[in-house]
Amino acid sequence: MNKSIIRLENIKRDFIVGEETVHALRGVSFSIDEGEFVSIMGSSGSGKTTMLNLLGCLDTPTEGDYFLDNVAVSTMNKNQRSTIRNKKIGFVFQSYNLLPKTTAEENVELPLMYNPSYTGKERREKAIKALNDVGLSDRLNHKSNQMSGGQMQRVAIARALVNDPVLILADEATGNLDTRTAYEIMVLFQELHKKGRTIVFVTHNPELAAFTSRNIVLRDGKVIKDAPNERIESAKKMLDALPKQED
């Protein structure tokens, strides 16, 4: 049996807005094993964002248990969750969230800065390796405002890889990119998946679900579909099929 990375048991999350209680998640249970590439889909209001915040240890459930890499997160305090985010999770955001006027390498080093066990030299080495893995070895000293959207997202992915996380959480990672660049990023995610990384990809775009190995669909705070993807499409093929850009 594969090692389970994420285990959700009857997760509920309520928000109190004024006098009303909004049930964002109404009892969700599933687990994700090591090496899976899961897409979580749903229209707006389905509980996607709440799910992402919970999986990312940014939030805690009102009810239910969440185990990340067999560690119970539900009962952790703020600082403990900071530490677990630092060590076990890599985030990739829609809007990249790179530090302005800062080089690619320094951006990638950032998560390691909050982990006192790394020395300055180790940080640099790991950052350069991560940038190599996303194909940006020639852009180490480019500042974030000197790069294209696709390059910035690659830097963000390198930043998510640098701490060797057990889980990479991507939030609409291709949302701000044009079709071609979006496919390029999907190619990168599929390559990472092949290397054995566990990836959770949150999106509202059903097309992207075709590239992942398992699809979870949320509606009104409940899982309405959870099935493995039998026919995983290759993002590389799609990219090659696109009409060549004429410069």
Binding site: G56, T83, K101
Partner: protein, 406 residues
């Protein structure tokens, strides 16, 4: 995150907003510089007054007859005849802490030389008086013991008197001037001393043997006062105690009787004058501190702007593992760096301004090390104090909200 990395991150943030950081710093620079300059001016005038007082003789002790009463009528000290020559002899011979001692008797009148006349008092003293009052002979000599004993009609004159009587530039030495019709031979002249801090001309002075004044002018046997010098400035209080005990014994006062004399030292006058400049210094320092406070509020303001502007950055840092205290230290160090750098520049400016004032306006200026250290410490504390609140606010942000902040 360790402190070195935090400082690096803060420096980069300041570097990204150079103009803003500089303008914020300017508030602190002006505050610190003005505190240092104002204290330097205040302390400078205090020192200059103190040095003028010590020129008058810092260990000087003045003894005057005290007030008394006669049949229920209170009398002024000047009309009292309680101080006698015996008191002077006792102070001169039987004390340990008094190094020099001179009786004084004064009279005032008109001096005449040739066709010039000039009003001035005459002080009857002995040769110790010059040491006590820090006077020195320019030309000629001080009167001798023998001249005091025979009540010789000799005198020593100050420069102002010379200027007014010897208008044709004659050499005053050996000349005879008349004081209220009594001829005095000038045996010495005094070096110029100028005005003292109370505006008195210290050169408007004529000295003669006290015996001469007592016998030939006033026809009295008592003395009007005694000037003495304590052995050192530090021993002034011991000397005062000693003189008091001696005079009370001489005057046969019972324990229940009040002193019939007053003893004053320069210390009291010095205290009175320096307290005025102390108030001035405090006032100046208060005004300067207000500008430091305003500078601190400037820091707080800009840190607020900075936290708001960088909300997403804070969100990102938290999402990749920064704890509240990492964010708190980051912004706090930024505020401290602004105030610290501003403090250093402010100290340099303050020292420069103090020296410039001394050089350009020739005001007495005294730069105080404690003022430099104090304003430096205060401005760093200002940074922590005013940086704390915005930094705390930043550290308490919710990463979920911060990440989606527009």
């Amino acid at each position: 995150m360790n402190i070195g990395n935090l400082i690096k991150v803060s420096l980069r943030a300041l570097n990204n907003n150079k103009m803003r950081a500089f303008l914020t710093m300017l508030g602190i620079i002006i505050g610190v510089a003005s505190v240092i300059t104002m204290l330097a001016i205040g302390q400078g005038s205090k020192k200059s007054i103190q040095s003028q007082i010590s020129e008058m003789g810092s260990n000087m002790i003045m003894i005057q007859p005290g007030t008394g009463n006669m049949g229920g009528v209170r009398l002024s000290g000047e009309s009292q005849q309680t101080l006698k020559l015996e008191d002077y002899y006792a102070l001169r011979d039987k004390t340990n802490y008094i190094s020099a001692c001179s009786p004084t008797v004064n009279s005032s009148g008109q001096y005449i030389f040739g066709s010039n006349n000039y009003p001035c008092s005459i002080s009857g003293v002995n040769s110790d008086y010059l040491d006590i009052r820090k006077l020195s002979i320019d030309e000629g000599t001080v009167f001798s013991k023998q001249q005091i004993e025979v009540a010789a009609k000799v005198c020593i004159v100050g420069q102002t008197v010379i200027k007014n009587l010897f208008t044709n530039g004659e050499d005053p030495l050996g000349k005879v001037i008349r004081f209220n019709k009594i001829p005095f031979t000038i045996i010495g002249t005094l070096n110029e001393k100028g005005f003292n801090s109370m505006g008195m001309d210290q050169d408007n002075i004529v000295l003669a043997p006290y015996t001469t004044i007592q016998k030939r002018i006033l026809a009295i046997t008592y003395i009007q006062g005694i000037y003495a010098s304590a052995t050192t400035e530090a021993d002034t209080n011991k000397a005062i105690d000693e003189a008091e005990t001696l005079l009370r014994a001489n005057h046969k006062l019972k324990a229940s009787d009040a002193d019939d004399f007053n003893i004053r030292s320069q210390e009291e006058i010095s205290k009175m004058l320096t307290s005025t400049t102390d108030i001035l210094t405090i006032l100046l320092a208060c005004i300067a501190s207000i500008s430091l406070l305003v500078g601190g509020i400037g820091i707080m303001n800009i840190m607020y702007v900075s936290v708001t502007e960088r909300t997403r950055e804070i969100g990102l840092r938290m999402s990749i593992g920064a704890k509240g205290r990492d964010i708190l230290s980051q912004f706090l160090i930024e505020a401290i760096l602004i105030s610290f750098t501003g403090g250093i520049i402010g100290v340099l400016f303050g020292l420069g301004a103090s020296l410039l004032i001394q050089f350009a306006f020739s005001w007495p200026v005294s730069i105080q090390l404690y003022a430099v250290l104090l304003s430096f410490v205060v401005c760093t504390i200002t940074g922590v104090f005013f940086g704390w609140y915005p930094a705390k606010k930043a550290s308490q942000l919710d990463p979920i909200d911060a990440l989606r902040y527009e």
